[in-house]
């Protein structure tokens, strides 16, 4: 056993030294997770944020109340002091529609000329929200935000009116205008303080994915490279156990995978403000087990292929669907039931699920024990199959 461990370490050490000297591989190794995080971070920003959407406003009323509504919309800044809308003034509904056609704006709001008059005469006033049907996502975001602003403004106006009635006409003890305008309100209660964004959802997924790629592709490519170059023969001809050869290579790939996982985690924390609510050691344990669950698969592919290119192609075939099925980017619950069943056959699904529980919800080891056991069993079973197969297949 001691001999196996010492030979294993010699091979892992050699692999890491070789890797450290290969500048191109080293640079790619560091840049890849950074690239991945930055891209994901910027492509999928926090879903609550709305920034600089161009809208057209046609204020045909131009009275105190309507001007107040226009200013509220123009100055709306939900996040980081960045304005939600870039407002442009138009004369009427037709002009806004033309503006949308000409792609000057992504939506609009018309305040009709009788707006203030109707409010003043205690009638229901109306505003028109114009949507750009050619761009459903932006349109939905703009429409939703505009509706919320108008509703809030409408409540304000309503409260003023009810307050007037309450103070001048009705004497009800302790009554507030709010209890008439909005008798029921909802309060959101999460497991952790503050709001989570999409990035907090996606960061654990990317961590698990990067680690998995490093082990699966890295191991197969590394063994295939040694086969191609002929250096594997030099190792195979040494009087050492085949187990130490393959586990040595797996160890160096796992160390690389863990380093990449840590890079992703640090970027998530420092660049994208992700907070890890759970125990950091549990996060590492999950990453290590995630790696363990993939080592067997990596060994199987290493044994089967003789060329790096074949290894990469074969693994891409596995990895690509796994990225989408394991819930890295989208929640599994949104998938059709057959896809969900497939997802639950993949170890990456459990690694991501457990990492999310620990990182976002601050779960402890007991809450992720099922995932831990599944990863452990999956890794052990694939290793038990893979190692003897590797022994046989490399001496075909």
């Amino acid at each position: 056993m001691k001999k196996i461990l010492s030979d294993l370490w010699q091979i892992a050490k050699k692999d890491l030294l070789e890797f450290r000297r290969d500048r191109i591989r080293l640079v790619t190794f560091i840049i890849m997770p950074i690239f991945m995080m930055i891209l994901t971070g910027f492509i999928f920003p926090s879903q609550n944020s709305i920034k600089n959407i161009s809208i057209g406003i046609a204020n045909q009323d131009n009275q105190t109340v309507s001007n107040q509504l226009q200013t509220t919309i123009e100055n709306l800044a939900p996040a980081n002091n960045q304005k939600a809308f870039k407002a442009k003034t138009y004369s009427d509904l037709g002009a806004i529609k033309n503006g949308i056609k000409n792609q000057e704006v992504n939506g609009g709001l018309v305040i009709p000329s009788d707006f203030s008059a109707k409010l003043n005469t205690n009638q229901q006033a109306e505003v028109i929200i114009v949507e750009d049907q050619s761009n459903p996502q932006i349109s939905a975001l703009a429409t939703q935000t505009l509706s919320q602003v108008v509703n809030a403004f409408s409540q304000q106006v309503g409260m003023q009116k009810v307050n007037q009635i309450l103070t001048t006409r009705v004497q009800v003890q302790g009554a507030s205008a709010q209890s008439f305008i909005q008798p029921i309100i909802t309060k959101l209660e999460g497991l952790i303080p503050g709001e989570t964004n999409y990035f907090e959802f996606v960061a654990p997924g990317i961590m698990a994915m990067v680690v998995m790629t490093a082990v699966l592709t890295g191991l197969a490519a590394s063994v295939a490279r040694e086969k191609e170059q002929g250096t594997l023969d030099g190792i195979m001809i040494a009087p050492i156990s085949r187990l130490s050869i393959i586990l040595g290579k797996a160890t160096s790939q796992s160390i690389r995978g863990l380093i990449q996982g840590i890079i992703v985690m640090l970027l998530a924390i420092f660049l994208f403000g992700v907070t890890i609510h759970g125990n950091i050691f549990l996060v590492f344990l999950l990453l290590v087990l995630g790696i363990f669950s993939f080592v067997g698969l990596g060994i199987l592919v290493s044994a089967a292929v003789t060329e790096q290119e074949t290894a990469t192609q074969l693994l891409f075939m596995f990895q690509f669907p796994m990225l989408f099925l394991s819930g890295v980017f989208f929640p599994i619950q949104q998938m059709p039931s057959i896809m969900q069943k497939i997802a639950y056959l993949l170890p990456l699904t459990y690694a991501i699920q457990a990492l999310r529980k620990v990182m976002i919800l601050g779960a402890g080891i007991m809450a992720v024990r099922t995932e831990l056991i599944i990863l452990l069993v999956f890794g052990a079973v694939t290793l038990i199959i893979a190692v003897p197969l590797f022994r046989r297949m490399v001496t075909r």
């Binding site: 030979d7 010699q10 050699k14 070789e18 002929g230 250096t231 023969d233 030099g234 009087p239």
Partner: protein, 274 residues
């Protein structure tokens, strides 16, 4: 082990890749301190024989003993007695000569001190001392091959397998390596040497086996092999080789086609193994 004792014994050794027979019922032996040259056209099965004897490939049928150990049952033990200079150079380009030697030495169970002492000796003998701290990727083919040989000799093996050790090397390096092979042989190292260089086979080998289509078609001393072509005056080993294996190009010919061998000079070949 006395000088007459066989260090390699091969009986009916066969290796099939699917329906293709790469090595077909091969029999031969190598004595302690003997150099056996394996000559054959490309794809004849020479490298496969070496891969089987070095435990890198499993035979389909037959038996072989290396250092009196069964290559299948005692493969781990066999590996303690052999060294391999394969067709492809076994060195890591991003590691220096010293790092390469330390790595392979440790895998072979040697201590750092022993590796250092042996590396010093071999690198000096192969004129590579000054380059020991340079990464192997910066070496010429000849330099790489010299380090490759030093690597194979770290364990001071009693049996050395050399698969085309001077292929693509300049005359100076070729001379140095051949001289070194002779020197090792004098100290008692048995060797199996494959080469396409007839001169090399002639000057280094005690006996030569001519391999074709996975079979040994002749095995004897160079002098005796030359007697197989009585119709040529003062024949060279190349004459013998072409007489026994013919002039057909091998590695692009259909492998499944039945081969009727005609001698280089018109007559049928005599397959002789002594």
């Amino acid at each position: 082990m006395n000088k007459e004792e066989n260090v390699i014994e091969v009986k009916n050794l066969t290796k099939n890749f699917g329906k293709f027979c790469a090595v077909c019922e091969v029999n031969f032996s190598v004595k302690k301190g003997e150099i056996l040259g394996l000559l054959g056209p490309n794809g004849a099965g020479k490298s496969t024989i070496i891969r089987i004897l070095t435990t890198l490939t499993r035979p389909t049928k037959g038996r072989a003993k290396v250092a009196n150990l069964d290559i299948e049952k005692k493969s781990d033990e066999v590996r303690k007695h052999i060294g391999l200079v394969a067709e492809k150079i076994i060195l890591y380009n991003h590691l220096t000569a010293d790092e390469n030697l330390q790595f392979f030495g440790h895998l072979n169970g040697l201590s750092s001190e022993t590796i250092k002492e042996r590396s010093d000796r071999w690198l000096k003998r192969l004129s590579m001392e000054e380059w020991r701290d340079h990464q192997s990727g910066t070496y010429s083919t000849g330099m790489k091959q010299r380090i490759n040989i030093a690597r194979a000799l770290l364990t001071e093996p009693e049996i050395l397998f050399l698969d085309e050790p001077t292929l693509g090397l300049d005359p100076q390096t070729t001379w140095l390596i051949r001289d070194f092979i002779r020197e090792l042989n004098k100290k008692g190292t048995a060797m199996i040497l494959t080469t396409h260089d007839m001169h090399e086979a002639e000057i280094l080998s005690d006996r030569v086996a001519i391999v074709d289509h996975g079979k040994i078609v002749a095995l004897d001393t160079v002098e005796n092999l030359k007697k197989l072509v009585p119709n040529i005056e003062n024949p060279t080993l190349e004459d013998v080789f072409l007489e026994l294996t013919g002039k057909d190009i091998r590695d692009t010919a259909k492998k499944s086609a039945p081969v009727e061998r005609r001698g280089h000079f018109g007559g049928p070949t005599n397959n002789r193994v002594r």
